[in-house]
């Protein structure tokens, strides 16, 4: 007999602001998501098993993901403005990766810049949330996960 456990969706949240990480984590947990929060895009890529090695000139997700099969991420929500790699760069890297491109990505930003929003949506982001993110925004996430 198959035992079905409550499928808890795992969200990876990326934001360099500690306050915003606390907020998004609380918002997501209120909606029963399991959350991992990291403070940079680089750390996010590391967590996802997509590490850019100086020795390699291409990413080999099939090798990297072998070590990360336990880590299943159902959605990535990331801040746009971050030092170093931006949320947009992260979005692109994810969409360019064979192993990760199907993970829905949501972008958050404190600035309402239409060209920025369009760029992100065109690059494959599912949603663009204006900060501060509200419970009503988080409620929009489940449909993207159930696709």
């Amino acid at each position: 007999m198959a035992i079905t456990s409550d499928a808890q969706f795992h969200v990876l949240a990326v934001d360099d602001s500690l306050i915003d990480r606390m907020l998004i984590e609380r918002l997501l947990k209120t909606s029963s998501f399991h959350v991992t929060a990291v403070d940079s895009a680089t750390k996010a890529l590391k967590f996802l098993g997509l590490v850019e090695d100086d020795m390699r000139t291409f990413d080999t997700p099939s090798v990297a993901s072998k070590f990360h099969q336990d880590v299943e991420v159902n959605l990535i929500i990331t801040d746009y403005c971050m030092p170093g790699m931006t949320g947009y760069d992260l979005l692109r890297k994810i969409k360019e990766s064979k192993s990760l491109k199907d993970i829905p990505v949501v972008i958050m930003s404190s600035e309402n810049v239409p060209s920025r929003i369009n760029r992100c949506l065109e690059e494959g982001a599912e949603e663009f949330f204006l900060k501060p993110v509200q419970q009503s925004d988080v409620n929009k996430l489940k449909p993207h996960l159930l696709k």
Binding site: S17, I19, D20, M22, L23, R26, S110, K131
Partner: protein, 155 residues
């Protein structure tokens, strides 16, 4: 003072802070995220905001005090951070100061930036005092065995 009175005082005080523009709906959202499993959420986030802001205000003071030339990109980066965190906790007047501040950064207007910095510091102090007063009220309520009321968002 009995618990019911203290709770009413807390509600009135919170409403007055919103009415006077010190806090906006985002603060009320934070309170809604607090529950029995996360009873200190608001205090934790706001405490972080205090730490963060004080650091940023010091950095801003330093950055604008450069006789050799102000690095407006750096100043703007600090203000952007402060704007973000104040917005995230609902400190509306602090956030609004930051909006004006960023415009002057863009114009590279040192004098106007210095005035903005003064204003932001004032607004921050006010916000901090009021929030600390609110938290003291909360402690009194909880010490008396009461709980923090839920505020309706439409009032």
């Amino acid at each position: 003072m009995e618990v019911g009175q203290m709770q009413r005082q807390w509600v009135d005080y919170t409403k007055s802070l919103v009415f006077e523009g010190f806090l906006d709906g985002q603060f009320l959202q934070l309170q809604q995220l607090q529950d029995e499993n996360n009873p200190d959420f608001v205090v934790e986030v706001v405490s972080l905001f205090f730490e963060d802001s004080e650091r940023l205000l010091n950095d801003l003071t330093f950055a604008l005090d450069q006789n050799g030339g102000v690095d407006f990109k750096k100043v703007d980066a600090h203000v952007h951070q402060l704007k973000g965190s104040s917005s995230s906790i609902g400190a509306q007047r602090v956030k609004n100061c930051c909006v004006a501040f960023r415009n002057f950064c863009e114009e590279q207007n040192t004098d106007a930036c210095l005035r903005c910095l003064q204003q932001v510091k004032q607004e921050y102090c006010l916000a901090k005092n009021k929030l600390e007063t609110l938290f003291r009220l909360e402690q009194q309520i909880m010490a008396a065995g009461g709980s923090i009321p839920m505020i309706e968002l439409s009032f």
